[in-house]
Protein backbone atom coordinates (compact mmCIF):
# COMPACT_ATOMS: atom_id res chain seq x y z
CA UNK A 1 0.00 0.00 0.00
CA UNK A 2 1.42 3.39 -0.95
CA UNK A 3 2.00 5.93 1.83
CA UNK A 4 0.26 8.64 -0.17
CA UNK A 5 -2.47 8.15 -2.79
CA UNK A 6 -3.70 11.23 -4.58
CA UNK A 7 -6.59 11.03 -7.07
CA UNK A 8 -7.96 13.92 -9.10
CA UNK A 9 -6.88 16.37 -6.37
CA UNK A 10 -8.18 19.90 -6.96
CA UNK A 11 -7.77 23.09 -5.00
CA UNK A 12 -9.58 26.36 -5.61
CA UNK A 13 -9.16 29.56 -3.63
CA UNK A 14 -12.10 31.91 -3.27
CA UNK A 15 -11.12 35.53 -2.77
CA UNK A 16 -13.73 38.29 -2.96
CA UNK A 17 -16.03 35.92 -4.88
CA UNK A 18 -13.31 35.34 -7.48
CA UNK A 19 -12.42 31.66 -7.77
CA UNK A 20 -8.79 30.90 -8.54
CA UNK A 21 -7.98 27.29 -9.39
CA UNK A 22 -4.51 26.34 -8.24
CA UNK A 23 -4.48 22.56 -8.66
CA UNK A 24 -6.42 21.09 -11.56
CA UNK A 25 -6.72 17.41 -10.74
CA UNK A 26 -3.50 15.66 -9.75
CA UNK A 27 -2.92 11.91 -9.67
CA UNK A 28 0.11 10.23 -8.14
CA UNK A 29 1.21 7.85 -5.40
CA UNK A 30 4.20 8.06 -3.10
CA UNK A 31 5.53 4.95 -1.37
CA UNK A 32 7.14 4.80 2.02
CA UNK A 33 10.90 5.41 1.85
CA UNK A 34 10.82 7.55 -1.29
CA UNK A 35 12.69 10.85 -1.66
CA UNK A 36 10.50 12.97 -3.92
CA UNK A 37 11.21 16.49 -5.13
CA UNK A 38 8.22 18.55 -6.20
CA UNK A 39 9.53 21.10 -8.65
CA UNK A 40 8.03 23.95 -10.54
CA UNK A 41 8.20 27.68 -11.06
CA UNK A 42 6.44 30.00 -8.64
CA UNK A 43 2.69 29.90 -9.12
CA UNK A 44 2.82 26.29 -10.28
CA UNK A 45 0.96 25.12 -7.15
CA UNK A 46 3.82 23.26 -5.49
CA UNK A 47 3.42 25.02 -2.14
CA UNK A 48 -0.34 24.45 -2.17
CA UNK A 49 0.27 20.76 -2.89
CA UNK A 50 2.75 20.55 -0.03
CA UNK A 51 0.27 22.21 2.36
CA UNK A 52 -2.41 19.69 1.43
CA UNK A 53 -0.03 16.71 1.62
CA UNK A 54 1.27 18.11 4.94
CA UNK A 55 -2.26 18.40 6.42
CA UNK A 56 -2.05 22.18 6.75
CA UNK A 57 -4.83 22.56 4.21
CA UNK A 58 -7.59 20.43 2.70
CA UNK A 59 -8.36 19.90 -1.02
CA UNK A 60 -11.47 21.38 -2.65
CA UNK A 61 -12.21 18.04 -4.28
CA UNK A 62 -10.56 14.73 -5.06
CA UNK A 63 -9.13 12.08 -2.78
CA UNK A 64 -6.08 12.13 -0.57
CA UNK A 65 -5.43 8.84 1.19
CA UNK A 66 -2.65 8.69 3.76
CA UNK A 67 -1.67 5.15 4.83
CA UNK A 68 -4.88 4.01 3.14
CA UNK A 69 -7.07 6.40 5.16
CA UNK A 70 -9.08 9.16 3.52
CA UNK A 71 -7.87 12.44 5.01
CA UNK A 72 -9.26 15.10 2.69
CA UNK A 73 -12.14 16.01 4.99
CA UNK A 74 -10.66 15.91 8.46
CA UNK A 75 -11.52 18.73 10.85
CA UNK A 76 -9.07 21.19 12.34
CA UNK A 77 -8.25 19.18 15.47
CA UNK A 78 -7.82 15.92 13.53
CA UNK A 79 -5.46 17.68 11.13
CA UNK A 80 -3.46 19.06 14.06
CA UNK A 81 -3.16 15.58 15.54
CA UNK A 82 -2.06 13.96 12.27
CA UNK A 83 0.47 16.78 11.67
CA UNK A 84 1.86 16.16 15.11
CA UNK A 85 2.15 12.38 14.73
CA UNK A 86 2.91 11.79 11.05
CA UNK A 87 4.69 14.84 9.64
CA UNK A 88 7.82 16.87 10.20
CA UNK A 89 8.32 20.25 8.51
CA UNK A 90 11.52 21.98 7.49
CA UNK A 91 10.97 25.54 6.24
CA UNK A 92 13.04 27.85 4.09
CA UNK A 93 13.20 30.48 6.85
CA UNK A 94 13.87 27.91 9.62
CA UNK A 95 11.01 29.20 11.83
CA UNK A 96 12.78 28.61 15.13
CA UNK A 97 11.45 30.16 18.33
CA UNK A 98 13.60 33.22 19.02
CA UNK A 99 15.62 33.48 22.24
CA UNK A 100 14.91 29.83 22.90
CA UNK A 101 17.48 27.05 23.31
CA UNK A 102 18.16 24.43 20.65
CA UNK A 103 16.82 21.86 23.09
CA UNK A 104 13.49 23.64 23.59
CA UNK A 105 13.10 24.30 19.88
CA UNK A 106 13.58 20.63 19.07
CA UNK A 107 11.24 19.61 21.88
CA UNK A 108 8.39 21.81 20.60
CA UNK A 109 6.38 19.13 18.72
CA UNK A 110 6.55 16.83 21.75
CA UNK A 111 4.71 19.45 23.83
CA UNK A 112 1.64 18.79 21.71
CA UNK A 113 1.96 14.98 21.70
CA UNK A 114 1.18 12.34 24.27
CA UNK A 115 4.78 11.20 24.21
CA UNK A 116 6.49 11.02 27.59
CA UNK A 117 10.17 10.98 28.51
CA UNK A 118 11.10 13.78 26.14
CA UNK A 119 14.70 14.14 27.16
CA UNK A 120 16.28 11.14 25.40
CA UNK A 121 14.22 11.63 22.24
CA UNK A 122 15.20 15.30 22.02
CA UNK A 123 18.89 14.59 22.61
CA UNK A 124 18.88 11.79 20.03
CA UNK A 125 17.32 14.08 17.42
CA UNK A 126 19.92 16.78 18.12
CA UNK A 127 22.65 14.14 17.92
CA UNK A 128 21.27 12.96 14.54
CA UNK A 129 21.94 16.40 13.02
CA UNK A 130 25.31 16.73 14.74
CA UNK A 131 24.43 19.65 17.04
CA UNK A 132 24.90 18.07 20.46
CA UNK A 133 27.55 20.61 21.56
CA UNK A 134 25.07 23.45 20.87
CA UNK A 135 22.16 21.85 22.75
CA UNK A 136 21.84 24.70 25.21
CA UNK A 137 22.66 27.55 22.85
CA UNK A 138 19.96 30.06 22.03
CA UNK A 139 18.54 29.86 18.52
CA UNK A 140 19.70 33.37 17.64
CA UNK A 141 23.32 32.43 18.41
CA UNK A 142 23.40 29.88 15.58
CA UNK A 143 24.49 30.18 11.95
CA UNK A 144 21.98 29.65 9.14
CA UNK A 145 23.13 26.10 8.48
CA UNK A 146 22.93 25.28 12.18
CA UNK A 147 19.46 26.77 12.39
CA UNK A 148 18.29 24.56 9.56
CA UNK A 149 19.81 21.54 11.27
CA UNK A 150 17.83 22.43 14.41
CA UNK A 151 14.73 22.60 12.22
CA UNK A 152 15.50 19.13 10.86
CA UNK A 153 15.99 17.77 14.37
CA UNK A 154 12.65 19.31 15.29
CA UNK A 155 11.06 17.63 12.27
CA UNK A 156 12.53 14.28 13.36
CA UNK A 157 11.68 14.39 17.02
CA UNK A 158 8.18 12.94 16.67
CA UNK A 159 9.51 10.08 14.55
CA UNK A 160 7.16 11.02 11.68
CA UNK A 161 6.33 8.89 8.59
CA UNK A 162 6.99 11.84 6.38
CA UNK A 163 9.33 14.84 6.33
CA UNK A 164 8.46 17.90 4.26
CA UNK A 165 11.26 20.25 3.29
CA UNK A 166 10.08 23.49 1.72
CA UNK A 167 13.06 25.14 -0.08
CA UNK A 168 15.32 24.02 2.81
CA UNK A 169 18.45 25.48 1.21
CA UNK A 170 16.84 28.69 -0.04
CA UNK A 171 18.34 30.88 2.71
CA UNK A 172 21.70 29.12 2.93
CA UNK A 173 25.06 29.44 1.22
CA UNK A 174 26.08 26.61 -1.10
CA UNK A 175 28.20 24.77 1.43
CA UNK A 176 25.60 24.82 4.20
CA UNK A 177 22.95 23.90 1.62
CA UNK A 178 24.97 20.88 0.59
CA UNK A 179 25.34 19.80 4.20
CA UNK A 180 21.60 20.05 4.75
CA UNK A 181 20.85 18.01 1.65
CA UNK A 182 23.34 15.37 2.80
CA UNK A 183 21.51 15.11 6.12
CA UNK A 184 18.22 14.66 4.26
CA UNK A 185 19.79 12.01 2.02
CA UNK A 186 21.10 10.20 5.07
CA UNK A 187 17.66 10.29 6.68
CA UNK A 188 16.20 8.87 3.48
CA UNK A 189 18.82 6.13 3.49
CA UNK A 190 17.62 5.28 7.00
CA UNK A 191 14.18 4.67 5.50
CA UNK A 192 12.41 7.98 6.04
CA UNK A 193 10.09 9.34 3.36
CA UNK A 194 11.06 12.83 2.28
CA UNK A 195 9.14 15.27 0.13
CA UNK A 196 11.21 18.20 -1.00
CA UNK A 197 9.67 21.31 -2.52
CA UNK A 198 12.10 23.36 -4.56
CA UNK A 199 12.61 25.22 -7.79
CA UNK A 200 16.37 24.66 -7.83
CA UNK A 201 17.61 21.73 -9.92
CA UNK A 202 20.79 21.59 -7.80
CA UNK A 203 18.72 20.86 -4.75
CA UNK A 204 16.30 18.57 -6.53
CA UNK A 205 19.04 16.29 -7.85
CA UNK A 206 19.49 14.89 -4.32
CA UNK A 207 15.99 13.36 -4.63
CA UNK A 208 15.25 9.96 -6.19
CA UNK A 209 12.07 11.02 -7.93
CA UNK A 210 10.93 14.31 -9.37
CA UNK A 211 7.37 15.51 -9.85
CA UNK A 212 7.34 18.64 -11.97
CA UNK A 213 4.31 20.95 -11.79
CA UNK A 214 3.28 23.73 -14.10
CA UNK A 215 0.07 25.75 -13.78
CA UNK A 216 -1.47 23.27 -11.40
CA UNK A 217 -0.84 20.17 -13.50
CA UNK A 218 1.82 17.47 -13.35
CA UNK A 219 3.97 17.84 -16.46
CA UNK A 220 6.62 15.30 -15.49
CA UNK A 221 6.96 12.49 -12.95
CA UNK A 222 10.11 10.40 -13.23
CA UNK A 223 12.79 8.50 -11.34
CA UNK A 224 16.08 10.41 -11.35
CA UNK A 225 18.14 7.23 -11.83
CA UNK A 226 16.28 6.33 -15.03
CA UNK A 227 16.60 9.82 -16.48
CA UNK A 228 20.23 10.01 -15.52
CA UNK A 229 21.13 6.84 -17.44
CA UNK A 230 19.18 8.08 -20.43
CA UNK A 231 20.93 11.49 -20.37
CA UNK A 232 24.47 10.43 -19.58
CA UNK A 233 24.30 11.32 -15.93
CA UNK A 234 22.23 14.53 -16.22
CA UNK A 235 18.65 14.23 -15.09
CA UNK A 236 17.38 17.57 -16.28
CA UNK A 237 16.31 18.11 -19.84
Amino acid sequence: MPLIEVQNLKKDYVNDEVITSVLHGLNFNIDGGEFVAIMGPSGSGKSTLMHILGFLDTPTSGDYKFKGREVSNLDDNQLAKIRNEEVGFVFQSFNLLPKTTVYDNVRLPLLYSRQKDHDKIVRDAIEAVGLSPQTNNLSNQLSGGEKQRVAIARALVNNPSLIFADEPTGNLDTKSGQAIMQILEKLNDQGRTIILVTHESDTARHAKRIIRLRDGLIVEDFMVSERRSANNGEFAK
Binding site: K81, N95, L111, R154
Partner: protein, 411 residues
Protein backbone atom coordinates in the same frame (compact mmCIF):
# COMPACT_ATOMS: atom_id res chain seq x y z
CA UNK B 1 -0.23 19.95 25.90
CA UNK B 2 0.27 19.61 29.61
CA UNK B 3 -0.73 22.50 31.86
CA UNK B 4 2.71 22.69 33.44
CA UNK B 5 4.31 23.03 30.00
CA UNK B 6 1.91 25.85 29.11
CA UNK B 7 2.70 27.52 32.42
CA UNK B 8 6.47 27.16 31.92
CA UNK B 9 6.05 28.59 28.47
CA UNK B 10 4.20 31.64 29.84
CA UNK B 11 6.95 32.28 32.35
CA UNK B 12 9.69 31.94 29.77
CA UNK B 13 7.91 34.40 27.46
CA UNK B 14 7.55 36.86 30.35
CA UNK B 15 11.16 36.37 31.33
CA UNK B 16 12.45 37.12 27.84
CA UNK B 17 10.51 40.42 27.84
CA UNK B 18 10.99 41.50 31.46
CA UNK B 19 10.53 45.25 31.08
CA UNK B 20 7.55 44.90 28.80
CA UNK B 21 5.94 42.34 31.09
CA UNK B 22 6.38 44.70 34.04
CA UNK B 23 4.91 47.65 32.16
CA UNK B 24 2.06 45.45 30.95
CA UNK B 25 1.23 44.54 34.51
CA UNK B 26 1.75 48.04 35.91
CA UNK B 27 -1.90 49.03 35.57
CA UNK B 28 -2.89 45.91 37.48
CA UNK B 29 -0.20 46.54 40.10
CA UNK B 30 -1.51 50.05 40.79
CA UNK B 31 -5.15 48.96 40.71
CA UNK B 32 -4.69 46.08 43.15
CA UNK B 33 -2.44 48.17 45.40
CA UNK B 34 -5.14 50.88 45.63
CA UNK B 35 -7.83 48.34 46.45
CA UNK B 36 -5.67 46.74 49.16
CA UNK B 37 -4.75 50.12 50.66
CA UNK B 38 -8.33 51.32 50.75
CA UNK B 39 -9.59 48.08 52.27
CA UNK B 40 -6.81 48.07 54.86
CA UNK B 41 -6.91 51.75 55.79
CA UNK B 42 -10.71 51.56 55.84
CA UNK B 43 -10.60 48.62 58.22
CA UNK B 44 -8.01 50.42 60.36
CA UNK B 45 -10.16 53.54 60.62
CA UNK B 46 -13.20 51.40 61.32
CA UNK B 47 -11.55 49.58 64.19
CA UNK B 48 -10.30 52.90 65.57
CA UNK B 49 -13.83 54.29 65.68
CA UNK B 50 -15.36 51.12 67.08
CA UNK B 51 -12.71 50.89 69.79
CA UNK B 52 -13.41 54.43 70.89
CA UNK B 53 -17.12 53.75 70.88
CA UNK B 54 -16.50 50.73 73.08
CA UNK B 55 -14.37 52.83 75.41
CA UNK B 56 -17.34 54.95 76.43
CA UNK B 57 -19.10 51.79 77.55
CA UNK B 58 -21.23 49.20 75.90
CA UNK B 59 -24.15 49.48 78.34
CA UNK B 60 -25.46 52.61 76.68
CA UNK B 61 -28.83 53.22 75.11
CA UNK B 62 -29.24 56.26 72.91
CA UNK B 63 -32.57 57.86 72.15
CA UNK B 64 -32.78 60.04 69.07
CA UNK B 65 -35.71 62.13 67.94
CA UNK B 66 -37.49 60.97 64.81
CA UNK B 67 -38.11 57.56 63.40
CA UNK B 68 -35.26 55.93 61.59
CA UNK B 69 -34.29 52.66 60.05
CA UNK B 70 -32.46 50.41 62.52
CA UNK B 71 -29.39 50.07 60.31
CA UNK B 72 -29.39 53.39 58.51
CA UNK B 73 -28.13 56.71 59.80
CA UNK B 74 -30.48 58.69 62.08
CA UNK B 75 -32.11 61.81 60.62
CA UNK B 76 -30.18 64.13 62.93
CA UNK B 77 -26.93 62.96 61.36
CA UNK B 78 -28.17 64.38 58.08
CA UNK B 79 -28.75 67.78 59.69
CA UNK B 80 -32.51 67.51 60.09
CA UNK B 81 -33.75 68.94 63.41
CA UNK B 82 -36.61 67.07 64.99
CA UNK B 83 -38.10 68.46 68.16
CA UNK B 84 -40.11 65.53 69.45
CA UNK B 85 -37.76 64.56 72.27
CA UNK B 86 -38.13 66.55 75.51
CA UNK B 87 -36.23 67.02 78.74
CA UNK B 88 -39.23 65.53 80.56
CA UNK B 89 -38.82 62.32 78.57
CA UNK B 90 -35.34 61.94 80.04
CA UNK B 91 -36.65 62.60 83.53
CA UNK B 92 -39.43 60.07 83.08
CA UNK B 93 -36.97 57.41 81.90
CA UNK B 94 -34.81 58.01 84.97
CA UNK B 95 -37.78 57.74 87.30
CA UNK B 96 -39.94 55.03 85.73
CA UNK B 97 -37.79 52.54 83.81
CA UNK B 98 -36.17 49.79 85.88
CA UNK B 99 -32.49 48.78 85.60
CA UNK B 100 -31.36 52.29 84.75
CA UNK B 101 -28.01 53.41 86.16
CA UNK B 102 -27.98 56.97 84.87
CA UNK B 103 -29.65 59.24 82.31
CA UNK B 104 -28.71 62.44 80.59
CA UNK B 105 -30.28 64.51 77.87
CA UNK B 106 -28.05 66.48 75.51
CA UNK B 107 -28.40 69.93 73.98
CA UNK B 108 -25.37 70.87 71.95
CA UNK B 109 -24.42 74.28 70.69
CA UNK B 110 -21.47 76.41 69.72
CA UNK B 111 -20.68 79.73 71.32
CA UNK B 112 -17.97 82.10 72.46
CA UNK B 113 -16.70 81.23 75.88
CA UNK B 114 -14.64 83.91 77.51
CA UNK B 115 -12.77 84.66 80.69
CA UNK B 116 -11.29 88.11 81.03
CA UNK B 117 -9.46 88.72 77.76
CA UNK B 118 -9.44 85.14 76.55
CA UNK B 119 -12.20 84.15 74.20
CA UNK B 120 -12.68 80.82 72.44
CA UNK B 121 -15.39 79.47 70.18
CA UNK B 122 -16.22 76.25 71.97
CA UNK B 123 -18.88 73.63 71.97
CA UNK B 124 -21.16 73.63 75.00
CA UNK B 125 -23.39 70.75 76.04
CA UNK B 126 -26.51 71.05 78.12
CA UNK B 127 -26.57 67.81 80.10
CA UNK B 128 -28.15 66.33 83.21
CA UNK B 129 -26.48 65.40 86.48
CA UNK B 130 -26.18 61.79 85.34
CA UNK B 131 -23.70 62.80 82.64
CA UNK B 132 -20.43 61.65 84.29
CA UNK B 133 -21.84 58.20 84.94
CA UNK B 134 -23.37 57.93 81.46
CA UNK B 135 -20.15 58.98 79.75
CA UNK B 136 -17.93 56.86 81.97
CA UNK B 137 -15.94 59.87 83.08
CA UNK B 138 -15.44 61.87 86.27
CA UNK B 139 -14.69 65.29 87.61
CA UNK B 140 -11.00 65.90 88.18
CA UNK B 141 -11.34 69.11 90.15
CA UNK B 142 -14.37 70.53 91.96
CA UNK B 143 -17.78 68.88 91.47
CA UNK B 144 -20.49 68.21 88.88
CA UNK B 145 -23.83 70.02 89.12
CA UNK B 146 -26.73 68.58 91.09
CA UNK B 147 -30.26 67.69 89.90
CA UNK B 148 -31.47 70.67 91.90
CA UNK B 149 -29.16 73.07 90.05
CA UNK B 150 -30.40 71.57 86.80
CA UNK B 151 -34.06 71.99 87.77
CA UNK B 152 -33.39 75.57 88.82
CA UNK B 153 -31.54 76.46 85.58
CA UNK B 154 -28.52 77.42 87.67
CA UNK B 155 -25.75 79.34 85.92
CA UNK B 156 -23.01 76.86 86.69
CA UNK B 157 -20.51 75.29 84.28
CA UNK B 158 -18.12 72.34 84.30
CA UNK B 159 -15.17 72.70 81.91
CA UNK B 160 -13.64 70.00 79.79
CA UNK B 161 -9.93 69.47 80.40
CA UNK B 162 -8.84 71.29 77.25
CA UNK B 163 -11.41 74.10 77.59
CA UNK B 164 -10.20 74.69 81.16
CA UNK B 165 -6.55 74.90 80.14
CA UNK B 166 -7.38 77.22 77.25
CA UNK B 167 -9.14 79.71 79.52
CA UNK B 168 -7.15 79.45 82.73
CA UNK B 169 -3.79 77.90 81.88
CA UNK B 170 -2.62 76.37 85.15
CA UNK B 171 -4.70 78.66 87.36
CA UNK B 172 -7.52 77.18 89.39
CA UNK B 173 -10.77 77.99 87.57
CA UNK B 174 -13.08 76.98 90.44
CA UNK B 175 -15.37 79.82 91.50
CA UNK B 176 -14.37 82.01 88.56
CA UNK B 177 -17.05 83.65 86.42
CA UNK B 178 -16.86 82.87 82.71
CA UNK B 179 -19.11 84.12 79.94
CA UNK B 180 -20.90 81.73 77.60
CA UNK B 181 -22.68 83.59 74.78
CA UNK B 182 -22.45 86.71 76.95
CA UNK B 183 -24.15 85.08 79.95
CA UNK B 184 -22.19 84.74 83.19
CA UNK B 185 -21.59 81.25 84.59
CA UNK B 186 -19.70 80.12 87.65
CA UNK B 187 -17.13 77.38 87.09
CA UNK B 188 -17.76 74.60 89.63
CA UNK B 189 -15.65 71.79 88.19
CA UNK B 190 -13.18 70.56 85.57
CA UNK B 191 -13.54 67.13 83.91
CA UNK B 192 -10.81 64.53 83.65
CA UNK B 193 -8.97 64.38 80.30
CA UNK B 194 -10.70 62.01 77.83
CA UNK B 195 -9.01 62.28 74.45
CA UNK B 196 -10.69 62.29 71.08
CA UNK B 197 -13.57 60.04 70.12
CA UNK B 198 -13.90 59.67 66.38
CA UNK B 199 -13.29 63.16 65.10
CA UNK B 200 -14.64 64.94 68.16
CA UNK B 201 -12.43 66.42 70.83
CA UNK B 202 -14.18 65.50 74.06
CA UNK B 203 -12.00 67.75 76.16
CA UNK B 204 -12.64 71.06 74.39
CA UNK B 205 -16.16 71.32 75.74
CA UNK B 206 -18.15 73.15 78.39
CA UNK B 207 -20.94 71.39 80.27
CA UNK B 208 -23.93 73.27 81.68
CA UNK B 209 -27.23 72.03 83.17
CA UNK B 210 -29.72 70.91 80.51
CA UNK B 211 -32.44 73.33 81.57
CA UNK B 212 -29.98 76.22 81.63
CA UNK B 213 -28.80 75.40 78.10
CA UNK B 214 -32.35 75.18 76.78
CA UNK B 215 -33.74 78.29 78.42
CA UNK B 216 -30.80 80.67 78.61
CA UNK B 217 -28.32 79.68 75.86
CA UNK B 218 -30.41 78.08 73.10
CA UNK B 219 -34.01 79.11 73.67
CA UNK B 220 -35.43 75.73 72.73
CA UNK B 221 -37.92 73.27 74.24
CA UNK B 222 -36.44 70.01 73.01
CA UNK B 223 -33.30 67.95 73.44
CA UNK B 224 -30.97 66.70 70.70
CA UNK B 225 -30.71 63.23 72.14
CA UNK B 226 -30.78 61.26 75.35
CA UNK B 227 -28.29 58.72 76.59
CA UNK B 228 -29.15 56.10 79.18
CA UNK B 229 -26.75 53.86 81.03
CA UNK B 230 -28.16 50.45 81.89
CA UNK B 231 -26.99 48.76 85.10
CA UNK B 232 -26.04 45.38 83.59
CA UNK B 233 -25.40 44.15 80.06
CA UNK B 234 -28.04 41.41 80.31
CA UNK B 235 -30.73 44.05 80.95
CA UNK B 236 -29.96 45.93 77.75
CA UNK B 237 -32.68 44.46 75.56
CA UNK B 238 -35.33 44.66 78.26
CA UNK B 239 -34.45 48.26 79.14
CA UNK B 240 -34.36 49.25 75.47
CA UNK B 241 -37.84 47.82 75.09
CA UNK B 242 -39.10 49.48 78.32
CA UNK B 243 -37.80 52.88 77.21
CA UNK B 244 -39.55 52.57 73.86
CA UNK B 245 -42.82 51.59 75.59
CA UNK B 246 -42.59 54.50 78.01
CA UNK B 247 -41.87 57.03 75.25
CA UNK B 248 -44.65 55.65 73.09
CA UNK B 249 -47.02 56.08 76.03
CA UNK B 250 -45.78 59.62 76.71
CA UNK B 251 -46.02 60.61 73.04
CA UNK B 252 -49.47 59.02 72.61
CA UNK B 253 -48.25 56.60 69.94
CA UNK B 254 -50.17 53.35 69.52
CA UNK B 255 -48.14 51.48 66.90
CA UNK B 256 -44.37 51.01 66.88
CA UNK B 257 -44.32 51.99 63.22
CA UNK B 258 -45.46 55.51 64.10
CA UNK B 259 -42.62 56.20 66.57
CA UNK B 260 -41.32 59.76 66.53
CA UNK B 261 -38.12 58.64 68.23
CA UNK B 262 -35.65 55.83 67.87
CA UNK B 263 -33.97 53.89 70.60
CA UNK B 264 -30.56 52.46 69.88
CA UNK B 265 -28.23 50.64 72.18
CA UNK B 266 -24.46 50.76 71.66
CA UNK B 267 -24.59 47.32 70.14
CA UNK B 268 -26.95 48.60 67.43
CA UNK B 269 -24.95 51.80 67.06
CA UNK B 270 -21.77 49.85 66.44
CA UNK B 271 -23.68 47.76 63.95
CA UNK B 272 -24.99 50.86 62.18
CA UNK B 273 -21.55 52.41 62.15
CA UNK B 274 -20.08 49.24 60.72
CA UNK B 275 -22.72 49.26 58.01
CA UNK B 276 -21.95 52.85 57.11
CA UNK B 277 -18.18 52.47 57.16
CA UNK B 278 -18.38 49.19 55.27
CA UNK B 279 -20.47 50.83 52.57
CA UNK B 280 -17.98 53.67 52.39
CA UNK B 281 -15.05 51.27 52.24
CA UNK B 282 -16.53 49.20 49.45
CA UNK B 283 -17.58 52.30 47.57
CA UNK B 284 -14.00 53.57 47.63
CA UNK B 285 -12.69 50.13 46.70
CA UNK B 286 -15.10 50.09 43.78
CA UNK B 287 -13.68 53.38 42.57
CA UNK B 288 -10.17 51.96 42.90
CA UNK B 289 -11.36 48.95 40.93
CA UNK B 290 -11.99 51.22 37.95
CA UNK B 291 -8.24 51.59 37.64
CA UNK B 292 -8.16 47.80 37.36
CA UNK B 293 -10.37 47.96 34.30
CA UNK B 294 -8.01 50.53 32.82
CA UNK B 295 -5.11 48.21 33.70
CA UNK B 296 -6.94 45.32 32.06
CA UNK B 297 -7.43 47.26 28.84
CA UNK B 298 -3.70 48.04 28.91
CA UNK B 299 -2.91 44.34 29.25
CA UNK B 300 -5.23 43.50 26.37
CA UNK B 301 -3.58 46.14 24.21
CA UNK B 302 -0.11 44.74 24.80
CA UNK B 303 -1.28 41.18 24.28
CA UNK B 304 -2.85 42.12 20.94
CA UNK B 305 0.48 43.61 19.91
CA UNK B 306 2.24 40.46 21.15
CA UNK B 307 -0.06 38.27 19.05
CA UNK B 308 0.79 40.32 15.95
CA UNK B 309 4.45 40.01 16.77
CA UNK B 310 4.26 36.27 17.21
CA UNK B 311 2.13 35.30 14.21
CA UNK B 312 4.90 33.11 12.77
CA UNK B 313 5.37 31.42 16.12
CA UNK B 314 1.66 30.62 16.17
CA UNK B 315 1.93 29.27 12.60
CA UNK B 316 4.87 27.09 13.59
CA UNK B 317 3.12 25.74 16.66
CA UNK B 318 0.07 24.91 14.58
CA UNK B 319 2.29 23.21 11.95
CA UNK B 320 3.91 20.95 14.53
CA UNK B 321 0.57 19.87 15.93
CA UNK B 322 -0.85 22.54 18.27
CA UNK B 323 -4.64 22.64 18.22
CA UNK B 324 -6.49 25.96 18.26
CA UNK B 325 -7.34 25.23 21.89
CA UNK B 326 -3.63 24.88 22.73
CA UNK B 327 -2.91 28.32 21.27
CA UNK B 328 -5.94 29.79 23.06
CA UNK B 329 -4.82 28.31 26.37
CA UNK B 330 -1.25 29.51 25.87
CA UNK B 331 -2.17 33.15 25.32
CA UNK B 332 -4.87 33.26 27.99
CA UNK B 333 -2.50 31.72 30.51
CA UNK B 334 0.18 34.22 29.55
CA UNK B 335 -2.22 37.10 30.19
CA UNK B 336 -3.40 35.61 33.47
CA UNK B 337 0.21 35.09 34.56
CA UNK B 338 1.05 38.75 33.85
CA UNK B 339 -2.08 39.90 35.65
CA UNK B 340 -1.56 37.55 38.59
CA UNK B 341 2.08 38.55 39.05
CA UNK B 342 0.91 42.17 38.80
CA UNK B 343 -1.71 41.39 41.43
CA UNK B 344 0.89 39.84 43.68
CA UNK B 345 3.15 42.88 43.38
CA UNK B 346 0.09 45.08 43.93
CA UNK B 347 -0.80 43.22 47.14
CA UNK B 348 2.78 43.55 48.38
CA UNK B 349 2.89 47.25 47.50
CA UNK B 350 -0.57 47.88 48.98
CA UNK B 351 0.40 46.02 52.14
CA UNK B 352 3.62 48.00 52.49
CA UNK B 353 1.83 51.33 52.04
CA UNK B 354 -0.91 50.30 54.49
CA UNK B 355 1.80 49.48 57.02
CA UNK B 356 3.28 52.92 56.40
CA UNK B 357 -0.11 54.55 57.00
CA UNK B 358 -0.46 52.58 60.24
CA UNK B 359 3.03 53.63 61.29
CA UNK B 360 2.29 57.31 60.65
CA UNK B 361 -1.10 57.09 62.39
CA UNK B 362 0.50 55.51 65.45
CA UNK B 363 3.20 58.14 65.41
CA UNK B 364 0.43 60.76 65.48
CA UNK B 365 -0.97 59.08 68.57
CA UNK B 366 -3.89 57.10 67.20
CA UNK B 367 -4.36 53.54 68.34
CA UNK B 368 -4.29 52.33 64.74
CA UNK B 369 -4.45 48.63 63.92
CA UNK B 370 -2.87 47.39 60.71
CA UNK B 371 -5.62 45.24 59.24
CA UNK B 372 -4.74 43.17 56.17
CA UNK B 373 -7.04 40.19 56.01
CA UNK B 374 -6.28 37.05 53.99
CA UNK B 375 -9.63 37.61 52.32
CA UNK B 376 -8.54 40.99 50.95
CA UNK B 377 -5.32 39.43 49.62
CA UNK B 378 -7.25 36.59 48.01
CA UNK B 379 -9.78 39.07 46.66
CA UNK B 380 -6.96 41.14 45.15
CA UNK B 381 -5.34 38.13 43.51
CA UNK B 382 -8.68 36.74 42.38
CA UNK B 383 -9.68 40.03 40.82
CA UNK B 384 -6.29 40.28 39.08
CA UNK B 385 -6.62 36.77 37.66
CA UNK B 386 -10.18 37.57 36.59
CA UNK B 387 -9.02 40.71 34.82
CA UNK B 388 -6.32 38.66 33.07
CA UNK B 389 -8.87 36.09 31.99
CA UNK B 390 -11.41 38.61 30.70
CA UNK B 391 -8.92 40.79 28.87
CA UNK B 392 -6.87 37.81 27.70
CA UNK B 393 -9.70 36.09 25.84
CA UNK B 394 -9.87 38.45 22.89
CA UNK B 395 -6.14 38.45 21.97
CA UNK B 396 -5.96 34.68 22.56
CA UNK B 397 -8.95 34.05 20.28
CA UNK B 398 -7.31 36.20 17.66
CA UNK B 399 -4.16 34.10 17.88
CA UNK B 400 -6.06 30.82 17.83
CA UNK B 401 -8.03 31.84 14.75
CA UNK B 402 -4.90 32.43 12.66
CA UNK B 403 -4.63 30.25 9.58
CA UNK B 404 -1.41 28.22 9.97
CA UNK B 405 -0.36 28.61 6.32
CA UNK B 406 -0.80 32.38 6.32
CA UNK B 407 0.78 32.61 9.75
CA UNK B 408 3.87 30.73 8.54
CA UNK B 409 4.20 33.03 5.55
CA UNK B 410 3.69 36.19 7.66
CA UNK B 411 6.55 38.66 7.33
Amino acid sequence: MRFTDTLKLSFSVLRTNKVRSFLTGLGIIIGIASVVIIMSVGAGAQSLIINQLNSIGTNLVGILPGKSDQNGPPASVLGIIITTLKYEDAQAIAEQVPNIAAVSSYNTGMGNISYQNIKNATQFNGVMSGYPSVENTEVANGRFFTPEEDAASARVAVLGDQAGKDLFDDNNPLGKKIKIKNEFFEVIGVMKERGTAGFQNQDNIVLVPAQTAQKILLGVRYVNYIRVKINRAENMDKATEDIALLLRDRHNISAAGDDDFSVRNTKDAIQALLTITDALKFFLAAIAAISLVVGGVGVMNIMLAAVNERVREVGLRRAVGAKRSNILAQFILETITVALLGGLLGVIMGGALSALVALVARYLGYNWALVITPSSILLGLGVAAGVGLIFGIYPARKAAKLNPIEALRYE
